[in-house]
C-alpha cells in the first residue's frame, strides 16, 4: 500500500454528496475507498456533519482503503483469453480485430495450443493458491474455426483449467454442443437483434449472408444448460430494439445476457456508436423491462454488465467483470494469447502491435510480458491520476473503460473511455435500485455467496 493511500486514510473520511435522481435519497461517497451511503436528500449537511454514519465509517476507512488498493494493484492473473485462430467466418461492423487477420489469418496448430497451455499452466500454478483452477477462455476471432485444436486442448487440460468459449454460434452444431456441455464449458454467444433484419445490420458473413437463424438454432440447443449467455453489442443499429431484445432473450430462457456498449477501439465501431443519452434511455428501458419480466414470471434475465456495476457498488471485490475498475483487469487479472503466440493485456489490444508484450513460447513468457512496457502502459492507467476522472465521486464504480478505446479513440491512456456519461447514469440507476430495495432482483441468485458483510448501517 502506498504512503499516499495510508495518509489519505489517516486523514479521516471526506464524503462527497451525489445527486442520484431519487425522490428521497442522495448518495454520499468517499471516492478514495469506493464507500457509499444513501442519505435523506433533505439532510445531507446533517449527515456529513457527524453522527452514526461518519462514526461507523471512520472505523472502517482504513480497511476499505486497503481492500480497494489490493483489488486495484495487488492481483495476480488467474485467467487467460486464448485466440486459437485469427480467422472469423463473420465480418461484423464493429469488430476490434483487423479485417485482414479475420479474413485470411492463421490458425494455431493443436501442438502449439497444447504447448501454450502447458506453459500457461506452469505459470498459473506459480501464482495461484493450491486448489483453485485458472480460467481459460477460447475467444475471438471465431475459435470454432479451429475446433479440432480447441477440443483437443480442452480434453488434454480438463483437470487443470476451467474452460469457457465465446463464439458467434454459427458453427455450434449438435456434436459441438454435446462435447462442450458434457465438459461443463461455459459458452457465450453473440446476437444483436430480436429479428434477422436487425442482427444483419451489424453481424453478417463475409459474403453478406444472415446468420441470425443459425444463432437462434444454437440458443435452442443450449436451453436448459446451466452455463451459457448471450452478448448483444449495442449500436445505433439496434438501440431502439433493446427492450424487444430482452423480451426475446427471456422467452428463449437465456439465463444471462450482456447489453454492451460497442467498443470503439477501431474506426469501424465508431461509425455505429450511439450517443450516451440515447444509450442510457434505451438501456434503462430494457433494464426496467427485465424487472417486469422477473416480477411476472419469477425468472430472472440477468444483464451481466449492469449486474457488475451493481455488484461493484455493493461488494467491490465480488465483481466478475474486470472492465469497470481502474486499472482494468487487462494484464492484471487476466491477459490474452494471440494465435501467433503473442501476449497482450486483453484481446481488445490484439490489433494494436505496440501492446504486444512478447511471445509466450519463443520469448520471455508470461512474467516478461507482465513486466513489459506494453503491459505497463495499460496496468498503470489509474483514474485517480487524470482529469476529469480524478475528481469524480464514482470513479471506482466505473473505472473509465476501456483503455484500448481511450487510447485509440480519445488519444491516450489518460483520457476517458467512450461512454463516460452513460456510466454515470448506470451508477445512479444502480444506487436508485438500492434505495428502493430492488438490487437483488437484478443480480444472480446467490451472487454474494462467500462474501461477508463488512458494513451495514440503517439508521435515522
Amino acid at each position: 500500500m502506498t504512503a499516499a493511500v495510508l495518509n489519505r486514510a489517516n486523514a479521516g473520511p471526506a464524503l462527497v454528496p451525489v445527486d442520484i435522481g431519487h425522490d428521497v435519497y442522495a448518495a454520499v461517497t468517499d471516492p478514495c475507498t469506493a464507500f457509499w451511503a444513501l442519505v435523506d436528500k433533505t439532510r445531507i449537511a446533517e449527515s456529513l456533519a457527524g453522527g452514526p454514519l461518519l462514526d461507523a465509517y471512520r472505523d472502517k476507512t482504513d480497511a476499505f482503503a486497503r481492500e480497494l488498493h489490493a483489488l486495484r494493484f495487488e492481483l495476480k492473473p488467474s485467467g487467460v483469453y486464448l485466440n486459437p485462430t485469427e480467422r472469423c467466418n463473420l465480418n461484423c461492423t464493429y469488430c476490434y480485430l483487423p479485417g485482414k487477420q479475420r479474413s485470411s489469418g492463421s490458425h494455431m496448430t493443436a501442438e502449439m495450443l497444447i504447448a501454450s497451455l502447458d506453459k500457461l499452466h506452469d505459470y498459473f500454478r506459480s501464482v495461484m493458491p493450491e486448489g483453485r483452477k485458472p480460467r481459460a477462455i477460447f475467444h475471438g476471432a471465431e475459435p470454432l474455426m479451429n475446433k479440432g485444436a480447441v477440443f483437443a486442448a480442452i480434453d488434454a487440460f480438463a483437470d487443470d483449467f476451467t474452460f469457457g468459449l465465446q463464439t458467434n454460434g454459427t458453427l455450434l452444431d449438435d456434436a459441438a454442443v454435446e462435447f462442450l456441455t458434457s465438459r461443463n464449458v461455459s459458452i457465450g454467444l453473440s446476437l444483436d437483434g430480436p429479428s434477422a433484419d436487425i442482427t444483419d445490420a451489424t453481424r453478417r458473413t463475409w459474403g453478406g449472408k444472415s446468420v441470425h437463424a443459425r444463432v437462434l438454432a444454437a440458443m435452442e440447443k443450449l436451453k436448459g444448460y446451466g452455463s451459457w449467455s448471450v452478448i448483444t453489442t449495442c449500436t445505433t443499429e439496434n438501440l431502439h430494439y433493446l427492450t424487444q431484445m430482452v423480451e426475446f432473450f427471456h422467452v428463449n430462457e437465456v439465463p444471462t445476457c450482456m447489453l454492451n456498449t460497442v467498443r470503439c477501439t477501431l474506426p469501424g465501431a465508431r461509425g455505429v456508436k450511439p450517443a450516451d443519452g440515447d444509450m442510457a434511455k434505451a438501456f434503462f428501458a430494457a433494464m426496467d423491462r427485465t424487472h417486469e419480466l422477473y416480477r411476472e414470471s419469477g425468472r430472472k434475465l440477468v444483464v451481466a454488465n449492469f449486474a457488475n456495476i451493481l455488484i461493484g457498488i455493493l461488494a467491490p471485490t465480488a465483481r466478475r467483470l474486470m472492465c469497470d475498475i481502474s486499472p482494468c483487469g487487462g494484464g492484471r487479472a487476466f491477459f490474452a494469447l494471440a494465435a501467433d503466440g503473442g501476449l497482450y493485456p486483453c484481446s481488445e489490444f490484439i490489433g494494436l502491435p505496440r501492446f504486444n508484450g512478447g511471445n509466450l513460447l519463443t520469448e520471455g513468457g508470461v512474467e516478461a510480458a507482465l513486466a513489459s512496457a506494453a503491459f505497463q502502459t495499460v496496468t498503470t492507467r489509474d483514474v485517480d491520476t487524470f482529469s476529469p476522472c480524478g475528481d469524480c465521486a464514482i470513479r471506482h464504480f466505473c473505472g473509465s473503460p476501456c483503455p484500448a478505446e481511450a487510447h485509440e479513440m480519445n488519444g491516450g491512456m489518460e483520457k476517458i473511455g467512450a461512454f463516460c456519461e452513460f456510466y454515470k447514469e448506470q451508477v445512479n440507476y444502480a444506487l436508485r435500485l438500492i434505495a428502493d430495495g430492488k438490487a437483488n432482483d437484478y443480480l444472480w441468485d446467490g451472487w454474494d455467496e462467500g462474501a461477508g458483510t463488512t458494513f451495514d448501517l440503517c439508521s435515522t
Binding site: V16, P17, V18, D19, I20, G21, H22, Y25, A26, A37, L38, V39, T42, R43, A45, E46, P52, E67, L71, S78, Y81, R132, I137, H139, G164, V185, S186, G188, G226, S229, I231, T256, N260, D276, G277, A280, A304, N308, L314, T317, A318, R320, L321, M322, G329, A333, S347, A393, I394, C402, K424, N428, I434, G450, G452, T454, L457, C458, S459, T460
Partner: protein, 51 residues
C-alpha cells in the same frame, strides 16, 4: 458541494423548512476474495454448469 453525475432530469435538493422524519440511512458493503476475470466480451458463469 454536491456532485451531479446525473445528466438527465436534474433534481433540486433543498432542505425543507418543516422536515418530516428523515429517511433511514442505507449503507452496506460486502467483501470476499476477488477472482473476477471477465471482460466485456465474455462473462464466466461458474454455477450449475452441468446439464
Amino acid at each position: 458541494m454536491m456532485q451531479t453525475v446525473q445528466t438527465q432530469q436534474p433534481a433540486e435538493i433543498t432542505a425543507a423548512a418543516k422536515a418530516p422524519p428523515a429517511a433511514p440511512t442505507i449503507a452496506i458493503r460486502k467483501s470476499c476474495n476477488p477472482d473476477g476475470i471477465g471482460l466485456s466480451h465474455y462473462v464466466l458463469m461458474d454455477k450449475k454448469a452441468a446439464k
